[in-house]
């Protein structure tokens, strides 16, 4: 019987695809591999302990992939791990040089931007919902005539408030990630100058 573990809501934990990939790669380096990646696994993903493997993981968002999308990745030697809605997960074993799916800065930045755009849209929707509810609540506060209406309002406020908070914290995580990377980049530059 192989050792197993479960991770919850994994795609929602990472604001940037690079961070999600790193997380998968780290687990693979410890011998943990996802058993199945399908739509439902965005909520609950099971991992199985196996061989320690040097994998490069790629998480790619494709809302409307064209016919040759899968074929191109497979031609380049990527193994299709699965897809969760529009999130495609790929991996490739490697020895020394880490393979990249987005080989230049421009296309890598474009890929990340797609994630952030989606995240911003969702955040805006929830924030607007929260604000609209709060305003309505304020306006109708004195005119609510049953406890039921109260409860409905409060539940709505809590839900949209919590979602707004969650989504905005993802966006903050993204900003932090970018800053961290800038710092390490400039540090490396300084070091190379010293040499």
């Amino acid at each position: 019987m192989k050792e197993k573990m479960t991770k919850w809501f994994t795609p929602f934990r990472f604001a940037v695809p690079e961070a999600y990939e790193e997380w998968f790669e780290q687990l693979a380096a410890e011998g943990w591999h996802p058993i199945k990646v399908g739509h439902i696994n965005s909520m609950k993903m099971k991992f199985e302990k196996g061989e320690i493997t040097k994998y490069r993981y790629v998480v790619d968002m494709q809302v409307n992939p064209r016919k040759d999308y899968l074929q191109i990745y497979q031609d380049f030697g990527w193994e299709f791990v699965g897809r969760m809605s529009s999130l495609f997960v790929w991996r490739k074993k490697y020895e020394e040089t880490k393979p990249e799916s987005f080989s230049d800065k421009e296309s890598a930045a474009k890929r990340t931007k797609k994630f952030i755009t989606l995240l911003s849209v969702i955040s805006t929707v929830f924030c607007c919902g929260f604000i609209a509810l709060a305003v309505l609540f304020g306006v109708y506060f004195t005119r609510l005539n049953s406890e039921e209406q109260y409860i409905q309002f409060v539940i709505g406020l809590i839900f949209s408030g919590a979602m707004s908070f969650f989504m905005i914290s993802r966006l903050r995580q993204f900003v932090k990630y970018k800053e961290k990377h800038k710092k390490t980049e400039s540090k490396e530059k300084k070091l190379s100058k010293l040499r």
């Binding site: 790619d60 040759d68 074929q71 191109i72 031609d75 380049f76 790929w90 080989s103 421009e106």
Partner: protein, 107 residues
């Protein structure tokens, strides 16, 4: 058409090295993986395009009419440059030549 071409010029010029080599390599019909191999050969192994980059670039180029797909062979789409794509490529080449001509004082 003329208006449309102006928009495309603004979107693509100047071009990234990646875009330039992809466009250049499909003056002859090729599929995604074939493009990567060809570009690698052209640059002596310096540029090794990734799958995501190739797919993303092809989608953008086709969306703006610089290239089109031809036939499908075993789920692989082949692509070829269009007239508009060729025009853009020539303009970009002229720009790069200009840079090249201005390098005289350096080397």
């Amino acid at each position: 058409m003329a208006m449309n071409y102006e928009k495309i010029r603004k979107r693509f010029l100047p071009m990234t090295e990646t875009m330039f080599y992809i466009l250049l390599s499909i003056r002859q019909e090729r599929h995604g993986y074939g493009i990567m191999k060809h570009v690698k050969e052209l640059t002596g192994g310096r540029i090794e395009l990734g799958a995501g980059t190739v797919y993303q670039s092809l989608k953008k180029l086709e969306g703006d009419g610089l290239i089109m797909h031809t036939q499908e062979v075993e789920a692989r789409k082949n692509y070829i440059i269009t007239e508009i794509g060729e025009k853009i490529l020539i303009e970009e080449t002229a720009r790069i030549k200009e840079i090249y001509n201005n390098l005289g004082s350096i080397l």
